[in-house]
């Protein structure tokens, strides 16, 4: 969907809302290293399955940045 600030503003309550482009910043809300206990607590609170992915080495820059940042 092409984004248009004016159109988006005018139609905010009248039309489907797509993320503004260009691009889409959707991200998996990962918990990263150092926050496993927090992840377990969240899973228990929300009654969700805990999905765990381990890797042998973190090669890509984005993953390394995410891990360092510890964000989720």
């Amino acid at each position: 969907m092409r984004s248009s600030f004016l159109a988006a503003t005018l139609l905010a309550f009248a039309a489907p809302q797509e993320p503004a482009g260009p691009g889409d910043k959707s991200r998996i809300d990962f918990f990263y290293a150092g926050r496993f206990k927090e992840a377990k607590k969240r899973a228990a609170e929300q009654n969700r399955m805990l999905l765990v992915k381990g890797v042998s080495v973190i090669l890509d820059e984005e993953a390394a940045r995410d891990v360092k940042r510890g964000t989720c």
Binding site: D24, A33, M49, L51, V52, K53, V57, I58
Partner: protein, 319 residues
């Protein structure tokens, strides 16, 4: 590879955020990203797993208390975005106790239930269900029936087209796209880029790369602010790759890195542009693996080539 394939896929991202709590770490002690608490559980539960021993362990789904392993998703499934999505969906159906709608989703479903003639309410509820890999088609159909000439109806047709594409029901997908276009006369709702991307997926699946590229090039030029620009550019790169125009593939992939670095296709592009120096079969490039072995310097060299192609071609891609 996983972060460049399944973890970069929108519907996988949506499903994991809607129904799972996800944790990512390095399981080898002493390395960047190691987590002792996670390793105590994960490494122990996988100690007999062949892929774990080989360094490419499965995704493991645990019960909410984090103690009992419920399902393991092996690497051959992890790297295929559609199989991975379906494995996550199936795990929810196998364990319905952990598949309940979140509070916001419940609100949207209740709003639709309370207003049977409200197209918007049904569309929004449909979106929420679709994100959770739950049945959504009926809600989209109700949105269409409630206001057949509205943008809600047009977008509901689009969502149904995408769902048909995921099911490889290509003729159904095309019919839905035609219905969406009929409501979107003159592109009054600004989604010609969505229609082009959906049609290009079919051409790519049929290995009609030139036709796919034609659709993608036109959409990239016509819709520079598309929220699907990462997807359009990634698949323009894929089409060029199979048309033996690797420099143009590099151009599109590096464009994503350079211009929309927070798009969820960045890792997918980053992995693809090192394909020639990568020993892992890339599922996004029909299993292409350009090298028998891989070193960090090979990967860096491949990136340098891609960057150089981007710099050489960026002013030649006419807007």
């Amino acid at each position: 590879m996983l972060r460049g394939s399944s973890f970069a896929e929108k519907r996988v991202i949506d499903l994991m955020n809607a129904r799972y709590v996800s944790f990512y770490f390095c399981f080898r002690k002493g390395t960047n990203g190691y987590d002792e608490d996670a390793a105590a559980l994960y490494n122990e539960s996988l100690k007999e797993d062949a892929d774990f021993k080989a360094g490419l362990p499965p995704v493991v789904l645990y019960a909410p208390d984090g103690l009992k392993s419920l399902k393991s998703i092996p690497r051959e499934v992890q790297f295929d975005k559609d199989k991975f999505h379906d494995a996550l969906r199936d795990a929810l159906r196998e364990h319905p106790a952990y598949d309940a709608p979140a509070p916001e989703e419940k609100k949207l479903l209740a709003a639709a239930e309370a207003a049977p003639r409200d197209a918007a309410a049904h569309y929004r509820a449909g979106e929420a269900r679709e994100r959770a890999a739950a049945p959504a088609a009926g809600l989209y159909e109700k949105a269409i029936a409630a206001a057949p000439e509205s943008e809600w109806a047009a977008r509901a047709h689009l969502r149904l087209a995408t769902m048909a594409r995921h099911a490889r029901a290509w003729d159904d997908a095309e019919k839905r796209l035609e219905s969406a276009e009929a409501v979107n006369a003159g592109d009054r709702f600004n989604f010609a880029d969505d229609v082009a991307m959906e049609r290009a997926h079919r051409q790519l699946a049929d290995q009609k790369h030139a036709k796919a590229l034609e659709l993608l090039d036109a959409a990239i030029r016509a819709s520079p602010a598309s929220n699907r620009m990462g997807e359009l550019r990634f698949y323009a790169g894929v089409a060029n790759f199979f048309l033996a125009k690797r420099d143009w593939a590099h151009y599109h992939w590096w464009w994503v890195l350079e211009n929309i670095p927070e798009d969820h296709h960045v890792l997918r592009c980053s992995v693809a542009l090192t394909a020639e120096g990568n020993c892992f079969a890339n599922p996004e490039l029909a299993g292409f693996a350009g090298a028998k072995e891989m070193t960090i310097s090979d990967g860096a060299a491949a990136r340098d080539v891609a960057r150089s192609d981007y710099d050489r071609l960026k002013d030649k891609y006419a807007p």
